[in-house]
Structure formats: structure tokens, C-alpha cells
């Protein structure tokens, strides 16, 4: 018990776990704020961007965000598996596949967030609750992602940080999807 407290309180480099966690959280908060500030300050272009083989940019974004959500669900599932919460043996491929799914989720989200920020901006107009919440959740996603990466990469983080920020990231992604793709599918339909 004592050694556990000691491990949590101080890293091998002598930096306390709490300051390290604070650093990771502040870095994530800074990213979230920067994304929001860009969306607010940048003059929205209103232009379509990437469509691939979809009918339009919004169609592309709705399906891409859904794919990101699928990867996020796998992230949550594989994390529970890796940390022994499912009671199953952990295969050697699970860790790399977990990292691969997270990386792909980020990669696929980039053209989506690019259109959101460059073309639409951070929504603050009165009466646009859905868009405002979507903007807010989007900022939280990239902030939480930053903190999560730091929590994974830096040694000596307190053990509560990774599951907490992972949970926040997952919840924010659900929020992003519900205020965009779900709305799109309900109001426009499952169009490609």
C-alpha cells in the first residue's frame, strides 16, 4: 500500500505525479481552447471541402464521424479487455490493435474537423443549441485526446488519469456524434 502511494506520488525522474497530471490536463485544456478560439476567430468560409464519393461534405462528415465512433467503441472495449475488466486472456495483438484503432480514429476525424473549423466555425448564435453543443464537444474531444496521449506516453502519471480522460474522450465523442451524425441521419436520412 505504501509503495503504491509512493509510485503514484512520484515518478522515477523525481517529478511528482500530480504536477505531471496537471501538465497533461493543462496541455489538453490549451488545445481545446485553441480549437475553440480558432473556430470563433476564423471567418467561416461556408465552402464545401472533401466529399470523396459522397453526395456532399455533410454526408461525408456524417459517415466519417460514425466510423470514428465505431473505432471509439472498439477503443473502450479493447481497453476494458486489456485492463482485465472482461476477465479474458489478453492476446499480444490487442495492444497494437488498440493503438491502431485510436490512431485511425484521429486520422479519419481530421477532414471532418477541418470542415467544421474552416468552413463553419464555433457556433455561438442564439437558438443554435445543437450546433453550440457540437462545437463544445468537438473542442473537448481534441483536448481530451491530447491529455490521453500524454497520459499514455509520459511515465509516472497517476493511475486515475488515463481511465478518467479516456472516459471523458469517449463521452465527448458520443456527444459530438449525437449532435451531428445522429441529427443528420434523423433529419436527412441514411443517404450516401
Amino acid at each position: 500500500m505504501t509503495s503504491q502511494v509512493s509510485t503514484d506520488a512520484q515518478t522515477s525522474d523525481g517529478i511528482g505525479a500530480a504536477p505531471l497530471a496537471a501538465l497533461a490536463i493543462l496541455a489538453g485544456a490549451a488545445v481545446a481552447v485553441l480549437v475553440g478560439v480558432y473556430g470563433q476567430v476564423h471567418d467561416p468560409t461556408g465552402e464545401a471541402t472533401i466529399t470523396l464519393f459522397f453526395t456532399g461534405t455533410l454526408h461525408f462528415k456524417a459517415w466519417a464521424a460514425t466510423l470514428v465512433l465505431v473505432f471509439a467503441l472498439f477503443q473502450a472495449f479493447s481497453a476494458l479487455w486489456m485492463y482485465g475488466r472482461l476477465g479474458w486472456a489478453v492476446p499480444s495483438w490487442l495492444g497494437p490493435v488498440h493503438r491502431l484503432s485510436g490512431t485511425l480514429a484521429l486520422l479519419i476525424s481530421l477532414p471532418v474537423v477541418y470542415h467544421c473549423l474552416w468552413s463553419l466555425g464555433f457556433e455561438t448564435e442564439a437558438g443554435e443549441t445543437r450546433r453550440f453543443l457540437h462545437s463544445l464537444f468537438g473542442c473537448v474531444v481534441y483536448g481530451a485526446f491530447t491529455t490521453k496521449i500524454l497520459a499514455v506516453r509520459l511515465h509516472g502519471m497517476p493511475k486515475w488519469l488515463l481511465p478518467s480522460v479516456g472516459g471523458l474522450l469517449f463521452a465527448a465523442l458520443i456527444g459530438v456524434w449525437c449532435t451531428s451524425s445522429l441529427w443528420f441521419f434523423q433529419n436527412i436520412g441514411f443517404e450516401i
Binding site: D43, P44, T45, G46, E47, A48, P96, L104, A126, G127
Partner: protein, 120 residues
């Protein structure tokens, strides 16, 4: 093998993040931005893309909202003032834009639907 693939994808993603940030900071739109559009008289199109196309379709072909293209909107609202009132106050499933858009923006987008979309 799998770890190598993960590394490759991570490097690609890192490059994509850098490219996205670079484009966000430097890429110039091919058409005027919302602010500039007001000065050039094409504010209506910008408002259309931002606030209307999601429901009425990019070219006014209809979607969750009714078709506006091909002169349909002029048939439904011969009086332009009626259309402005509807956009401002809302009607059935259509939200009121009076609190979200300025009168100039509403006027511009109404003209856009009556003039530009009529030709599509």
C-alpha cells in the same frame, strides 16, 4: 509486423495533423468569406450554405424541407414580404431565423432563393 503497421499509421497521422493545422492557418477560400461576401453582394449564397442548404438541399432540390429550386419558392410566395416573414418567424417544421440572422442576411438569402435557385 503489426507494430510496424501501427508506427507507419502513427507517422502518417502525425503528418496529417500537421497538414490540417497548416491548412487551417493558411488556406484561402476560393470564394469570399461570410464577411467579405456581404461587401460583394453574395451574402445570400453564404447564408444559404450555412443555414438553409442542410434542409432544403445544396441546390434547393429539397430534403427535409420542401423544394425551393426552379421557381417553386416564387410560386409559393408571389409576395417577397411573405417569404421574409416566414423565414423570420418560422413555420411548422422550419425554425424561425429572426433571432439568428440579421434582417440583411434574411433579405439576402430570400433574394438568393428567388433569383439564383430559380435557375436551377
Amino acid at each position: 509486423m503489426l507494430k510496424g503497421l501501427v508506427t507507419v499509421v502513427q507517422v502518417i497521422t502525425l503528418g496529417a495533423v500537421a497538414a490540417t493545422v497548416f491548412l487551417l492557418l493558411t488556406f484561402t477560400p476560393t470564394s469570399p468569406t461570410r464577411e467579405a461576401a456581404a461587401n460583394l453582394g453574395i451574402l445570400g449564397e453564404q447564408v444559404w450554405v450555412r443555414s438553409c442548404a442542410g434542409c432544403h438541399g445544396a441546390d434547393g432540390e429539397g430534403g427535409i424541407g420542401p423544394t425551393l429550386a426552379g421557381g417553386a419558392v416564387v410560386e409559393a410566395f408571389p409576395d417577397r414580404a411573405e417569404q421574409i416573414a416566414l423565414v423570420t418567424d418560422g413555420f411548422e417544421g422550419m425554425p424561425a431565423f429572426g433571432g439568428r440572422l440579421t434582417p440583411a442576411e434574411i433579405s439576402a438569402v430570400v433574394d438568393y432563393t428567388r433569383n439564383e435557385l430559380a435557375q436551377r
